[in-house]
Symmetry: D4
Subunit: 208 residues, 8 copies
């Protein structure tokens, strides 16, 4: 069953952030709100840190679904931003797919709300077109753990790889020596336990 | 591992509601009763909304298993209704299979009580006859999460796709523009958080 | 430590529904949304069933907190409805307290969102003025179980009695013979397991 | 805050089993069904073992609430058995209170379904009449842990003592030497881990 | 991915009960003891009910692992009983494999303690020899849910089918009409909720 | 049991932040790290917002316990900061108590790590000297929920009031009209669900 | 409600270890076995560290309950050791009470198996004789969290103080300066997170 | 789907312990600290017991990640120890891979911190080079169960086998008769329930 291990490659990967909208976020209950907010912003920060082409899309943002979370809009002022007129599966929106293909990347890092629809549908569509799909499980949210587990099973069976934002960052970075400070800052900003390790380390060193 | 993504198609799908009986429901403990009732009625409403051929079946409804939940009977007054004389696997009942085949549909959306028997057995039978099977995981209930997980594993390994009623509705609908009001009403009636979003949105708009 | 057992008395009780607003409900995460919606509506139904004077109040309903849940507004068209201009503790609003005192009742059945503020503050104020306070724990929601537990402890220590909507209904009704059908309908509409018992019972009886 | 420790005394205690009916048991979801059944039968067995006067009562057993669990009926063929015509609080039934007072006991060991009504109401009534009340928490069941916790808080604040069936048995027995075999059998029949200890012990001893 | 659905066949199935020993059971913590005991005895009862050849085996039963649970020994007085002198994987014991092969059955229903060793090892060995393997997940226990999940993953990946004892019974029985009373008794004895359904049903019918 | 309700009063309250040190935080496991960090910073922000005198203290910060979390140090550059030379109960440090008494406040809002020691000990000491003590339960952390529950019970029994940071903020603020923007910003910065409500509200209003 | 805060005093405290027997430990399921073992040994180590008089007692240790855990026997070779001939409540054993009174201490630190019997009964007896009782909640175990919660409620209501072994150690030690190394070793041996802090600290310091 | 069952073979297996560092361990929250420490040390003990070649590696151990846990360093004084200068995936370190290949073993038993990076990355790399990979799930830790589950899914899909340390020990040992004492000691030292079984057994036997 063993085969090639095709890793995430920062020169061949794009990030898709799908429907992280202020209204829809009230549906997300498989994560604590503080944790989920942190995970989504960590994913945004890593996309920026690695200069990955990033594509934003929303569904009906003038209606009850609400606007894209402001932090994401601010993080990617130049990014393609597709306010879909109605397609539920973002992949059904030609502009969205065109934006992806324009990046020339074959690895798609996907996160969104809610997992079994806004993430799973485009993930399955992308797999069918031979993209490699990496689902950022902890930056994708849904109603509860039962619907999440079903969505994971469906995507995994179709060939998607399930990852955390931390694993994505590490697989892209490969070697700390590429930039110790940069990666350390990313972790310190989004992993309180790591920040504490750094604080203790720094205090000890500076104190001597 | 990637392949075709054959989506649920409202012109090619039928719904099977298996053994949602008043007595048997007392066995369901992997969902909170309020949640489970809501999920089952949401699935019924979506079946009606999309005009999907729907088939009802029960097991021994004059005995302790109890009658079909009245709401389901009322929702589908014209639907084939097979009170099985004894077959545990509904697929062993010729009338049931004939009703399915009479719809001419190849995609079966299945839910029932209890998951590892009333859902899993016909799901495995249908897969063996080359139907596509979509299990509505949150409208199917059983004794506890352990037996549910085992049932999911068995069905998934055989090729069934695990979904939530919400994912089923979205994959069938494809595009909000097909009917914003209709889908919105379905969600509002069965997702309290979504109803609240609409209430806030409407109040704000009407107030100005 | 034993003393008098002063029961809820339907001739001496009023219901306070505090800040069940469409926006604020997105903060409630110590209950599943389906369950919480059902509990709140059950409390509303019992208030109507027992003809208890009921007082509604909201906080900033034209802002992000959102409007009162429409079902509650419709359930009590004649009820005093105090849209507080800013007081966080509803008891700080003179109109609210006046409405309560106008009922002449000394037993207050209180529920609201969020528990440690909108319920606890007026509960503590009412206790200090020698009302008897009955908190409907399952129709009151908050951020998580930790903050709920702290709020319960604070209210209980001050003399509030913690109840469920079901216990409130039963303590008010006293004897099924006062109205079997009415109480049965209340339970059937809000307790799926009870509805199933009735469905099975009715089917068996009617079938013979 | 320290004071006298009045223990359960087998010469001064009676057992009240309230509304353990086949239908109502489907409402109990704060315990796994296997565990709850075992706990209730353990309490019955200990009542018989210690020859405690035991009083059974039911509510509407010809309706959807269903009959008393047959095992309890068989366990206490001679016990007072009050089928209440409608009173929700069993203490409102004169026959029930008379049966209790006829025992001459001042310590009441109470269990029932559901906790916040069928247990809490008579417990509070009994405390108000200066009985000592010991609630068997694990032989009393209700909708979920939230409503249970509220019920416990209310009863505890009024002076009830919360116990498990095992603690009740131990406090009544006082000293193993009063009957090693009898108490051992009670535990072996209702505590699988204890049964296993005995099985290993016996096997080892008999093997030598 | 769909293929044949080879069901459990009562004429082609044997049951393997591996290391349900009084000492080892103290290691089982992924199930409540009451529930686990009930599940194991339910599996034993179904094996007897369907007259399935059943094979018992133990590991070091004269040492700390303790004797086979007495109920199992009594249930199968004629069954092959292999007290393994040391092999951890029962399949490494020739006598055990010979007993299985002597049954002539190709479907093995397996349960044991602990899941990742006493169940998984022989399951993997049997699959390698082209037996069909059905793991009774709820009659197999281990240290905690984490080790259970890993064991399930390993067995499932190798082709084992994960089931509950209830699903096994239903798949073997096929049709209630083969024996309503017998199957009903099996369920009534091991599923308290089902027993309650029957009790209510019987009471209602006999009362009229 | 009812009595006076003495509310938190912003003119009579001081905040004690005890041992939130980078090393000790690795011991906190009764909260998710993202949530706990957010709660502690929310408490710091509210202390600043209400201009409450705030006192910081640490234990052995040059050793493995690590330095005070930098964010707290920065938030209160002028605050009394007592690096205790060894006293475990901060109240045993004269400088700490003097700093408290110098504020002239009688209401103490206390949080720290770990709950049963760094919070409970000074809380009990302060109560013994007739301070009113308000424990910020969600900005205090410890090893697990079991030790937390025991600590809560001990403090509550001694007269401490258990609150969340949100309840503290609301009880201090009293009326939104005192400063809508300020309180809204505090909530928006620390309650993602509330921030989303504001984002949706603002977008809707600005879009029109 | 505030009053004196009488702290644990190492010159006035004794430790009671009740029925930590190899067989009975298989009944303990409200703690993970690794955690519980660690907590009990931590309590033993602190008793030795502070030279507290310690009293051991067992119930029927030649029968299925099994011997005292060997580590405890070895830890206290000189301690009074009362193998009770049958009394369930250790306080009913005159030798046990005499041993306690012989210490001349008025503060009793109590832990045992199972919580609601072996801990609660002597705790209630000791309180009735005006001892101060400190229950070490995490070194006391029982069947499940439900029975534990009931036991805690009963003991707390009678005046017992609920603590963790860590809180006991800290309250006895008062000031790190009394012996930094000793207390640090106790924590390092029983709190892995603390051990890690020390390891990191030491490595950093020694590396420079 | 059945195929060969290639078991762990003590003559063909090596152990990789990756990044169990004092600082990084503070990130591990999917296991209780006591349990995780025990599992890691159990894995170390079994590696030594079976004389498996063992390779240690760390990441940045002079920085905040902290030193290798001292117990592991002491356990394997002669083992290859690769302090990686920056590679996140240990397999990217040539020295590490060379050390593995120098063992000549084709079965790799892998554990580390954190699971989705330090374990998953080298596991996927090793599978791609046709090693057999056995992940020790309970000696590998990460941020929470969600990220663990995703990591397991990714590794399992690529062909890794998920095991517990106990299963690894049993599959390596094959037959108790190879060394009863040795394996018994390993289990007694790391499984408290097993230690208790042995203590009871020994006491009973020695007492006669």
């Amino acid at each position: 069953m063993s085969g090639e291990y095709t890793r995430l490659d920062k020169d061949n990967a794009a990030v898709l952030l799908i429907d992280h909208q202020a209204g829809l976020l009230s549906l997300v209950r498989d994560f604590d709100p503080d944790t989920f907010k942190n995970n989504v912003l960590a994913l945004a920060d890593l996309a920026k840190y690695f200069n990955l082409p990033t594509i934003l899309t929303t569904s009906f943002e003038n209606g009850p679904n609400g606007p894209l979370v402001p932090e994401l809009k601010e993080a990617f002022p130049e990014a393609p931003y597709i306010a879909r007129p109605g397609q539920i599966n973002a992949w059904d929106n030609e502009e969205f797919v065109a934006a992806i293909k324009a990046t020339g990347k074959k690895q798609l890092i996907v996160a969104g709300v809610v997992t079994e629809v806004c993430v799973a549908f485009p993930a399955l569509s992308a797999l069918a077109e031979d993209f490699e799909v990496f689902v950022v499980t902890d930056a994708s949210g849904t109603f509860n753990a039962v619907t999440r587990d079903a969505a994971w099973d469906r995507m995994s069976a179709a060939g998607a790889q399930l990852m955390s934002w931390f694993a994505v960052a590490c697989e892209l970075h490969r070697d700390w020596r590429n930039d110790v400070e940069g990666l350390g800052a990313l972790f310190s900003n989004h992993i309180p336990d790591y920040r504490n390790l750094i604080a203790s380390y720094t205090a000890l060193n500076s104190g001597q």
